[in-house]
């Protein structure tokens, strides 16, 4: 075994306490300065491997087999105190959600210095000086005083970088990055990605980079391991896995990304009678406006996409339309009739005609109800049908979204993420609406599953002629599904028109920036973008 092997997982096996196998005989080797990308859909065991490389398993799970060797020391045979000494010091972890990982009551500096001081790596003064150096490397604003702030006083991208500083504070040999850029906006993602890469290169740290996004891993990893259902599917050099995947599963993953890079526009609807018209709408929370001067119209059978980064007001737009956020001024018309600003004043039939599909299918379905109740309720509520007719309709709706009829007695907990989202769609369809507002319906789903959901939405539009207001930050999805698109920035629509026009020159500068920020699967892409930026 070569000396520069810093992390070696041998025949790793992780199971739940009930005996389900989460990670099955996976071997991982990591040399000094090398970055290995772990790729797979949710449930593939990526995060479990990341945690297991620190000899840690989540509550309810156990590491049941294999060896975890860091710098020649086997961690599973060590005592809890010895393992504790390794964590943070030799191997560090960057979590997906920095916001949930910082203690809101402590300053960033206290939290960044905690590990080196308690591990006795360096005294506090030295740790602070080192932290400032890390802040500077990570291009955080005012590195000398940045550490005096509390987590809520900095932006999401800055917090994620502060977390990288925290992980690097003990100069670890290995760093585990668990989807560190997934929660960030595309434009922020590039910056963080570039900085993380530079940081790892500068300090010669080895990295385990966990993500579901092939394009992201292409920018940073030397080697890629593809996982599925806890098993290793394929491992190889990054370029080779991305360009010539050997296994069918890896090929499917890569092709899904490739396909979404095409601009494949569905047929635009011939009927241009607008189902929803929004005229000069302003709205906000308290005194703070979040959407300003919105004008748009959606035709029957059309998919109208609203894109923008978080905080751009796109979800607030949806809330204005459904009446959860009463508008201040302007008018929202459904089929020519003005809708009351607030939800309780709207008659039942108006409510029926605008339905919503939420972002997180996990919390959009009541876990204590069966699918028969969840989907059947709108049928009974709006159409007052007899019990047998409702049952019949629930089965029809399940079939419409591609779920077997015997699912009626299941509860949401017994479904996968993609199945739950189909149930949400079925629930919306149960009301026989004219317009469905889809608020990021695919962003919580794995790419292959999201693909299925998009296809179902497309098919249902063809069959039923329903219009979609499709809110997303994912430009790839927009290009493929939307007839027309509006780009939002700081509560205003800055560009609006047929999707093909929005995504072809001349661009609005912000649209161009958004488009340029979407990672591509080319391993040279990040360098290219950074180069173009410096030239500008």
């Amino acid at each position: 075994m070569s000396d520069d092997l810093v992390l070696h997982l041998e025949q790793l096996k992780v199971e739940t306490i009930k005996g389900a196998v989460l990670v099955d005989n996976v071997d991982v080797t990591l040399r000094r300065g090398e970055i290995l990308g772990l790729i797979g859909e949710s449930g593939a065991g990526k995060s479990t491997i990341g945690l297991a490389s620190m000899a840690y398993a989540r509550a309810g799970c156990r590491i049941t087999g294999g060896n975890i060797i860091i710098n020649g020391t086997e961690l599973r045979a060590s005592t809890a105190a010895q393992r504790r000494n390794f964590r943070g010091k030799s191997i560090a972890y960057i979590a997906q959600s920095a916001a949930a990982s910082f203690n809101p009551a402590m300053t960033l500096m206290e939290q960044v210095c905690e590990a080196p001081v308690t591990h006795g790596v360096m005294p506090r003064a030295e740790a602070q000086a080192y932290a400032v150096r890390l802040f500077r490397t990570l291009q955080l604003p005012n590195p000398e005083t940045f550490g005096d702030r509390y987590p809520h006083q900095v932006s999401g991208g800055q917090l994620q970088r502060a977390m990288a500083a925290m992980a690097m504070s003990c100069r670890p040999d290995v760093i585990v990055l668990d989807e560190p850029t997934t929660a960030l906006d595309v434009t922020t993602q590039i910056e963080v990605l570039a900085l993380l890469r530079d940081l790892i290169r500068e300090f010669g740290t080895a990295g385990l980079y966990i993500t579901h996004d092939l394009a992201v891993v292409a920018q940073i990893a030397h080697r890629i391991m593809v996982l599925r259902h806890g098993k290793m599917v394929e491992v190889g050099a990054a370029k080779q896995v991305l360009e010539e995947p050997a296994t069918p599963y890896a090929t499917a993953l890569v092709n899904e990304r490739r396909e979404s890079e095409h601009i494949a526009l569905p047929e635009p609807p011939k009927n241009v009678h607008p189902v929803l018209v929004i005229k000069d709408v302003d709205a906000g929370y308290g005194d703070v406006p979040v959407v300003k001067g919105i004008n748009l119209s959606i035709a029957r059978g059309e998919t109208f996409a609203i894109v923008g980064e978080s905080g751009s007001g796109k979800s607030s737009m949806a809330r204005v339309v459904v009446g959860l956020l009463p508008r201040w001024t302007g008018d929202v018309r459904l089929d020519g009739e003005s809708l009351s600003p607030a939800l309780p004043q709207r008659p039942r039939d108006r409510l029926r005609r605008v339905q919503m599909v939420h972002q997180m299918p996990d919390v959009a379905l009541n876990p204590r109800q069966t699918l028969a109740e969840i989907i059947g309720r709108p049928v009974g509520f709006y159409f007052n049908r007899p019990r047998s007719a409702i049952k019949q309709r629930v089965v029809e709706l399940l079939q419409l979204v591609g779920l077997p009829p015997d699912f009626v007695s299941r509860r949401p907990g017994q479904l996968s993420g993609g199945q739950k989202q189909r149930v949400c769609i079925a629930r919306a369809l149960a009301a026989e609406p004219d317009l469905i507002i889809c608020d990021e319906p695919t962003s919580a789903l794995d790419p292959l599953v999201a693909e299925e959901v998009l296809k179902i939405l497309r098919r249902l539009q063809d069959e039923l002629g329903v219009a979609y207001m499709f809110i997303t930050h994912d430009l790839g999805t927009v290009r493929r599904i939307a007839h027309r698109t509006a780009v939002m920035l700081k509560g205003e629509i800055i560009a609006q028109g047929p999707t093909a026009d929005i995504f072809s020159p001349p661009f609005h500068p912000y649209t161009e920036r958004l488009i340029a920020s979407v990672p591509e699967m080319d391993t040279q892409w990040l360098d290219g973008v950074l180069e173009r930026r410096t030239l500008q």
């Binding site: 309810g60 939800l343 997180m360």
Partner: protein, 277 residues
């Protein structure tokens, strides 16, 4: 033996045994008791004997009979009180959480005012004004206790009402009652059930305390708090009489708490394992 899909540990089994025995005694009391609860069958504080296992009380009634009828009365009132308290507290708490705005402010401030007055003093005033009868007793304690239930239900409701499935129901146009009953209540059931056990204990002790003070259950009905007070002078003569009802109160309190502790521990760690490998 498994309950709710879990095997109760030893202490929970002891607690369950105590609770089950007490409940059976409370339900089947009149058929189990050897005598009538107001029937005088021996001398004052007669020692235990073959026909009076625990001896007699201060006016010669059979202690065991009084304990059995006391279980019926004390547990019955505590259970009715807790049920009523939960009905009021959950309804108002969920309403405050779901409707929000001024409804929440108004209800919460009223509850704050009630909580700021010591419960026992409050109860003494009400029972003093309206006189102590069993319905007044139940309603008084229930209203006072519902303030605590309100607080819990409101907090649980607040966490649930922001979830998207509740939002989906409101978007559909569902009324308040449906949202509370079908969307929120089933998801708040687990913590509420454990809280029910705890509140039952407090109410049970509260009824006993009021009876001990003489404004709770009135003679000739037997109840444990009143029995402690009536037999208290016996302690001066080195007799056990007041200890039997006191022990019964202590045993049931401990028993219910053991069960609740276990229920809470299931609720708190569903996966049932510590994180370290």
């Amino acid at each position: 033996m498994t309950l709710f899909g879990h095997r109760p540990p030893l202490f929970a089994q002891i607690g369950l045994a105590i609770v089950v025995i007490n409940l059976l005694v409370a339900i089947f009391g009149p058929w189990l008791a050897p005598y009538d609860q107001s029937q005088s069958v021996g001398d004052t504080w007669a020692p235990s004997s073959a026909h009076m296992l625990l001896g007699a009380d201060q006016i010669g009634r059979d202690m065991l009979t009084r304990l059995i009828y006391g279980a019926r009365m004390t547990i019955g009132i505590a259970a009715a009180t807790t049920a009523l308290s939960f009905l009021i507290g959950i309804t108002l708490g969920f309403t405050a959480a779901v409707v929000g705005k001024w409804v929440d402010v108004a209800l919460s401030r009223v509850v704050d005012i009630m909580l700021s007055i010591p419960q026992l003093i409050f109860a003494l005033i009400i029972l003093g004004v309206f006189g102590s009868s069993i319905p007044v007793l139940i309603i008084t304690i229930a209203v006072l206790d519902s303030t605590r239930v309100f607080r819990l239900a409101r907090a649980l409701g607040m966490n649930l009402t922001v979830l998207e499935f509740v939002e989906a129901a409101r978007l559909r146009g569902e009324g308040l009652w449906w949202v509370i009953r079908r969307e929120i209540l089933p998801n708040a059931a687990a913590p509420l059930i454990s809280e029910f056990g705890l509140r039952f204990c407090f109410n049970f002790l509260f009824v006993a305390a009021l009876s001990f003070l003489g404004i709770g259950v009135q003679p000739p009905y037997a109840d444990w708090g009143g029995m402690v007070r009536d037999n208290a002078p016996a302690i001066n003569f080195g007799l056990y009489a007041p200890l039997y009802p006191a022990l019964a109160i202590a045993a049931l309190t401990v028993g219910v708490n053991l069960v609740v502790d276990w229920l809470l521990s299931i609720d708190a760690r569903p996966s049932g394992a510590q994180a370290e490998m």
